[in-house]
Symmetry: D2
Subunit: 345 residues, 4 copies
């Protein structure tokens, strides 16, 4: 199958390339970048040298569609709206890595992203691409809204408990810590090396755009509106999100019981690795891979469940998950091209 | 005044040296280290070369007492118990940087530190050395239990709200992130460079020894037993603790009101810097300094107060605070020798 | 083909596992570790969880030989001597990642490694496993001495010039900078996180054990004894070696000419990527991959050639190169299982 | 004495503030920043909060001159030319931290900085502010060209040998490694956190602007034109330069002899710390301080001298050295306000 990567010069574009170059079922045949149009992708990503001779081209949906059967959109939000629409109209399967088709309610989108959604009809058809929750829907979808990195880490950590209705939905606190690649590849003072290195901070406390996305999915699992506290933090490292989740159990159980529920819930999920009781994840163990590692703890002192998840924000939190979605849409093995270990150390 | 630093080869010992060498009122006259006895401190800490010619000696309280009027104990817990007792008996003022005299209930100490406290009578006389709470008591004390790094960051973040009785004490969640120097200077696989760098993890979830210390102080502020969720995390950086605190407000207020309470509470605290509304701290801004930066947020969506604090774990979280305590005990200006900016970047 | 990894708990053992798990021609069937015997390798390397269920066993050559056709030795030097001998005697093909069979002169080995070589006869049969120089010999070898990380970076940088006889062999200066994983996985104060992070140092100036290995190969290329200045440095990063090489040209040429010579020399080397004139390598672009990136500069002001090379010390500098050697020995495509991009960022 | 810092929002401006706030003889009375005019400096540098209430103002030489007796220029090159001229005309003592007055030959300046020097007369009066070489001249100067960071590390490493005429001036190779703050505070892709972290590269090989500055000073010491190979590298750390220098000895001596020469040469230099024979510097030990640590090695195999130096690029490589120059110009103790240890770890 021929693949187009639209918006190939950002970090998620680079990761799509890295993984798809070794995917046995597909060939990347077109890549776009406005600012690098005409240049080989290896001038943008020298780590790909020797593995591809693809050249960036401007985004022209008709041209791209002729070269490819399946389109990944790695564009900024708002920009992706129309691209998804155009490629969909041209009959292509699309995985959109931006936020544009994640929020099912256009009004919520407008509030948080400060733009009106131009394609509310298409929005209705989009499927939220978290395979662990929506595997069957994804298989039939033609437009996937690939989840955000923070939401992936939060929702996978909470889904088993929400699903079982074991926690007080009003008590959820999500404290997330992300590596810097999550902020993208555009230089800014906030992400200038000496400003970040040997620093650590919380940002957008209570106001981050991934919050409504998390709440949408948790509400869906809970069957009622859920409101959470969500705080993202910036960690001086390139990749990875560790999310620490606290929630009041309705009737407290022991850690072993929690562990069984998680095991049951994720037994068919090839990329969720539930750690043994007493162990907690470290982002270093998922770096470069599509795994989500999860550790659980039932705190007998407070009655809370504490769940810790780790993903690579660029893989399970973006490009790897996008490919996992493609695999499902195309009827390939869900793990095709993604069965590789992270790079440690 | 002549100062002894007992246990000078660890990171807190090094920080005591660094700061005291420039303190206008004191002279370091004796330093001890069993394993480096006979060696100049500059062989242990080459960054001090050119500034001191002190030589490490073994810990003999009588000898040390003859050379010094004031003793800082930078020993491991359990070991510090007897050293504090001996120096106290010899009439010296003591600041103990270990955990040995922090927990007022010897039974709690025995549970968490797995040793019986040998000096329960002396324990009763020890004052918990958090100047922002116990300034007057510290001035009269002869033995100070210098607070732990995590507790300093947590208690300073919660004290104004606990003091005012504005939050539900059962709702407190403390999510802390620490640089690696907090783990001390002894090599271990867990803190071997390639294991830590580009990693991020939670550890001792719900079981860290600083939890009872935090709860003791919060309970004292609340006037009743407080139980918290406390999760420490390891950040790939040398110094700094950022603590994110969540607590349910009894009757929610706006951030401006929260901010006023914090301003009032800390108006006379020279080392607490309350950030303007809308700003949150970054450990990079306190690196190497004795400041504790605090940002507050009243979340209108959840009714929670979210408080973020940042300290340098080796300074306000250890050696700087120890010197602040010494200043108070000796009647010096509280900020003497500590009025310096951190090192940024 | 069935593979054994002897000494699987160090970083090079982990890298062999990571790469071989995706190698289409082989299966890892036995792994050894004395200290982790009986434990699953995933307890030593959690990043491999979900991809293998191999359990470590003690090193017993007879047992291991029954399970495997090909043996990688990832043992410390001296220890590897006998293991190589035993497996060789049992008729196995062996790639030894230690230094034990790299120095062809046992006297030189004894001087630098402070042990007498016990198997000088076998030493004669060993082939130095740098495919770019010894491809044909490697194809016929049964025991490969896999090159050291620093030597790989230095020799690949100098070979084209030495081969052409264009530089004064007495003028060579090799200034290398390595990530910390090169020091192995055993904790030590020198590699304790806070000691390394935000630090940079030279070490073993003029006395590093990789120096005789570099000189042996350069002498062989020059056809006479070559003595170099070699200085290793420690960089606060996990992986990667960047080596900057200076050498006086016998009769100075322009950079374009230098570039042509390198292009010619490496035209059939699948893992050497010669950068365009004016560009110099960055270790970030080879991280996790088997590539060696090279940039060249003919300095018109000094008449020196300046060559900069970058490798991942654990891949092209160790485990990747070992697998490249295995591919050659077994008649597989040289790049089999190694055609993947590094992980950037 | 009243001090003005012109260009206070960059890293060197911040360091001038940090150090001068604790300097017993001076008060900072004016600071300028075009883009932050009207804002408190603590909004630009939050680490200074609680220590100063200075507000940035636009650069107007007349206004600034009324408020201050001594001016530090922390402006970009070219811009500093006129500022120095104006303040000099107004009778102020000036230390210029830019490159504008470092190269005594205007033609060389024009070649490397691509601008004609507008004030060649003033250029003649400027003194190169390396106290270890020009202490007496500095005491009488009214305009100091504060040395570049790389040149400081290189010249201090070579001066004793050049002075003694013990090395072949044509054989000098200077391999420098710098932390990222050396690139300034303006964001760029090259210094975006994920691009730098876990990377290491050489840049501007043979073409860096600090090369003519190094050669000017070495030529002056040698009494004839010296041409060097100079390669800067970027290290993933905030601060520090380590420079490794290689030079052929005219008649080789042993390390002990080298060491004696360095000891003699620097016996009156309060900020040069010559390490014991066998030890080499680490930038971590000078971080935040004004020290230059030096280690020397006479390689018996090659006859080369190998010298390694470490400085903090923002302190001894910029702001600290500027203050050291001020101390000399004003007749203060050379080390006034600079006698503090670095921050380790």
């Amino acid at each position: 199958m021929n693949i187009a990567i639209v918006g190939s010069s950002g970090y998620t574009g680079g990761e799509l390339m890295r993984i798809l170059l070794n995917h046995p079922k597909v060939t990347v045949t077109a890549i776009t970048s406005e600012k690098s149009a005409g240049k080989p992708i290896t001038s943008v990503f020298p780590h790909l040298a020797g593995l591809t001779s693809l050249v960036c081209e401007p985004l022209d949906p008709d041209t791209i569609s002729k070269k490819s059967d399946f389109v990944f959109l790695a564009l900024p939000h708002v920009t992706a709206q129309e691209a998804a629409f155009r490629f969909h109209l041209l009959g292509k399967n699309v995985v959109d890595l931006s936020a544009d088709y994640r929020l099912s309610d256009p009004a919520v989108y407008a509030t948080w992203y400060e733009h009106t959604h131009q394609y509310p009809e298409l929005l209705k058809q989009a499927v939220y691409g978290l395979p662990e929750l929506y595997r069957e829907k994804i298989k039939k979808a033609s437009l996937i809204a690939n989840p955000g990195c923070y939401p992936t880490s939060a929702i996978l950590g909470l889904a088993p408990l929400m699903h079982k209705g074991r926690i007080d939905p009003g008590s959820i606190i999500i404290d997330s810590k992300s590596g810097v690649s999550g902020a993208g590849r555009s230089p800014s003072l906030a992400h200038h090396y000496p400003e970040v290195n040997e620093g650590f901070m919380a940002y957008k406390v209570g106001t981050h755009r991934h919050m409504p996305e998390i709440e949408q999915e948790l509400s869906s699992l809970a069957g009622k509106q859920v409101t959470v506290s969500f705080t993202p933090h910036l960690v001086p490292m390139n990749r990875g999100i560790l999310t620490t989740i606290y929630a009041k159990q309705k009737s407290p159980v022991v850690t072993d019981q929690l562990h069984v529920w998680y095991q049951d819930f994720y037994q068919d999920a090839p990329f969720v690795r539930l750690l043994p009781v007493g162990q907690f994840p470290n982002v270093r163990n998922v770096r470069g891979s599509n795994f989500c590692d999860i550790g659980v703890y039932a705190d007998p002192r407070t009655g809370r469940a504490v769940v810790v998840t780790a993903i690579d924000n660029l893989v399970k939190g973006a490009s790897g998950q996008a490919i996992q979605n493609m695999n499902l849409m195309m009827g390939y093995d869900e793990a095709e091209g993604l069965r590789f270990a992270g790079v440690f150390p």
